[in-house]
C-alpha cells in the first residue's frame, strides 16, 4: 500500500510505527511537500494478516531470524523445540542486567532464544554494553517487537 497526498500529488513517506499492544497497529505517513501527516490504523485482524506474511510496515532494521514467523506466532509451540547448543556465540556480547534476565525468563521458551538474540544484536549494533529493561523497551518500540 502507498499513501498519496492528493493536494500536492506527492507520495507520502513512512514516518513512524506504533504498536499499542492491543493487537492494533498505527503507521504514520508524511507528505514531503506540505508536511501533512496521516495515520493508518489497522484492526487486530488486519495487523495479523500483515504479520502472517512475514513483512513489516515501515521496513525493518534487523534481518529476520530463522523461523521468525513460526516462533513468534505459534501459540502452541513446545518449550524445548530448539536446543540452546546451536545458538550463535558472539564475541563482545553485551551483558544482561539481573532485571533484564528476569524479564527474559518470562518469554516462552519456544521463542526465548530468538528474542534474546534480537535484543543482543540490537545492543551490539548500537554499542550498548548492558541490556536493561529500558534497552529492551527501546528495542521493542524501535523494531516493532510486539509481544517480545
Amino acid at each position: 500500500m502507498k499513501f498519496l497526498c492528493v493536494e500536492c500529488d506527492r507520495q507520502m513517506t513512512f514516518e513512524e510505527r506504533q504498536l499499542p499492544g492491543d493487537g492494533t497497529l498505527a503507521a504514520a505517513f508524511r507528505c514531503p511537500k506540505c508536511g501533512r501527516v496521516v495515520a493508518m490504523l489497522t484492526n487486530p485482524m488486519e495487523t495479523q494478516l500483515v504479520s502472517s506474511l512475514g513483512v513489516k510496515i515501515g521496513g525493518t532494521t534487523v534481518p529476520a531470524e530463522p523461523l521468525e514467523t513460526i516462533r513468534s506466532m505459534v501459540a502452541t509451540g513446545r518449550d524445548d523445540a530448539f536446543t540452546e547448543d546451536g545458538e550463535r556465540k558472539t564475541g563482545n556480547a553485551p551483558a544482561w542486567s539481573a532485571e533484564a534476565q528476569d524479564r527474559l525468563t518470562r518469554v516462552p521458551g519456544f521463542v526465548r532464544g530468538m528474542v534474546k538474540k534480537i535484543y543482543a544484536d540490537y545492543a551490539k549494533q548500537r554499542g550498548i554494553g548492558e541490556i536493561t529493561p529500558a534497552v529492551m523497551d527501546a528495542a521493542r518500540t524501535e523494531l516493532g517487537l510486539e509481544g517480545m
Binding site: V6, Q11, Q48, K56, P66, T69, T76, F82
Partner: protein, 260 residues
C-alpha cells in the same frame, strides 16, 4: 469535478516499507536455499488416508540407504506424522547463524516437521484475534511453510521430499513459493473413490505446470479393490512406479527408489 489521483503503479518514489522488496527478499532466500537441492519432489494425493506420509518416509529411507542425501519436509502442518515415521519425535532443532539445522532421522534422513515444534498433543494454533481467523490463518500457514523451506539449513541434498496434506491448498501455496512448479509423485489406493479424488489433484498439478513423475498405488492386495493406479496412469500418461502391498519389505521401497 473528480480528483486526479495517480494509480498505485504510477507512484514510484522510494518507499521505506518496501513490502514488495521484503516479499522478493523472502523468495530469494528460499531460492538460494534450494539452489543446492538436486530435486524437489512433492508427494501428494487429493485423497486423505492413502498413506502419503508412509510412502514418503519409506521412500526417503530407501533413497538414503542407496547413498542419496535426502531431506523430508513434513508439509502437513496440522497433522504431522513424518517425524514419528522416521523415528525422530524427540529430535530437537538447532538454530545457527544462517538457519536452523534439521533433525536427523532413520537412515540419516534430514527432516523437519511441525511435530518437533508443537507441544505434545496440541493443535497448531496461532496467536492472534480468534474472530474471523480464516482471513489470516491461511497466510500464516503459508508463511510457516515458506520458513520451513527457506530457514532450514538443509545443506546440499540429492532429493528433498515434501509430504503434503490431503487436498490441493498446500500444493498451490508451494507453486507460489517455489521458483518452478515442483515435480509430483502421486499416491493413491486402488479404489474408484480414491481415483476420482486423486484425478482432480493430478489435473490441478498438470494445469500448474508440474511434471508428474509417476504413481504409487498403496494398500494393494487387501480390502481396497479397484484399478485406480492403472486408470490414472493411462489418463495422465505417467507410469505406475510401485504397487505397495499391506506388508511391504525393504525391497519394495528399494525398487521404488530405483525407479525415480
Amino acid at each position: 469535478m473528480p480528483l486526479h489521483i495517480r494509480t498505485y503503479h504510477e507512484l514510484t518514489e522510494p518507499d521505506r516499507s518496501g513490502l514488495g522488496d521484503q516479499i522478493a527478499a523472502q523468495r530469494r532466500r528460499l531460492a538460494d536455499r534450494l539452489a543446492v537441492v538436486g530435486r524437489v519432489l512433492v508427494v501428494m494425493s487429493g485423497k486423505g488416508g492413502v498413506g502419503k506420509s508412509f510412502v514418503t518416509a519409506n521412500l526417503a529411507r530407501a533413497l538414503a540407504r542407496d547413498g542419496r542425501v535426502v531431506g523430508v519436509l513434513d508439509a502437513d502442518l496440522n497433522g504431522p506424522t513424518v517425524a514419528r515415521l522416521l523415528d525422530a519425535t524427540d529430535a530437537r532443532l538447532v538454530p545457527q547463524d544462517d538457519g536452523v539445522l534439521p533433525a536427523t532421522g532413520a537412515d540419516g534422513v534430514r527432516l523437519v516437521s511441525m511435530a518437533q515444534l508443537l507441544a505434545d498433543g496440541q493443535p497448531l494454533a496461532f496467536k492472534g484475534p480468534e474472530a474471523e481467523s480464516f482471513v489470516w490463518r491461511g497466510a500464516a500457514e503459508a508463511g510457516a511453510l515458506r520458513e520451513l523451506l527457506a530457514d532450514i539449513a538443509w545443506g546440499t541434498l540429492d532429493v528433498l521430499l515434501l509430504d503434503l496434506p490431503p487436498g490441493m491448498q498446500r500444493f498451490l501455496e508451494l507453486c507460489d513459493l517455489l521458483p518452478a512448479p515442483p515435480t509430483v509423485l502421486t499416491v493413491t489406493i486402488p479404489t474408484p473413490e480414491s481415483r476420482d479424488a486423486v484425478r482432480r489433484a493430478m489435473r490441478a498439478a498438470v494445469e500448474r505446470g508440474s511434471p508428474l513423475v509417476g504413481i504409487v498405488e498403496n494398500m494393494v492386495g487387501g480390502e481396497f479393490r479397484g484399478t485406480a493406479g492403472d486408470d490414472l496412469a493411462v489418463e495422465f500418461a505417467t507410469p505406475v512406479l510401485a504397487r505397495i502391498p499391506w506388508h511391504p519389505t525393504p525391497d519394495t521401497w528399494h525398487l521404488l527408489a530405483t525407479r525415480l
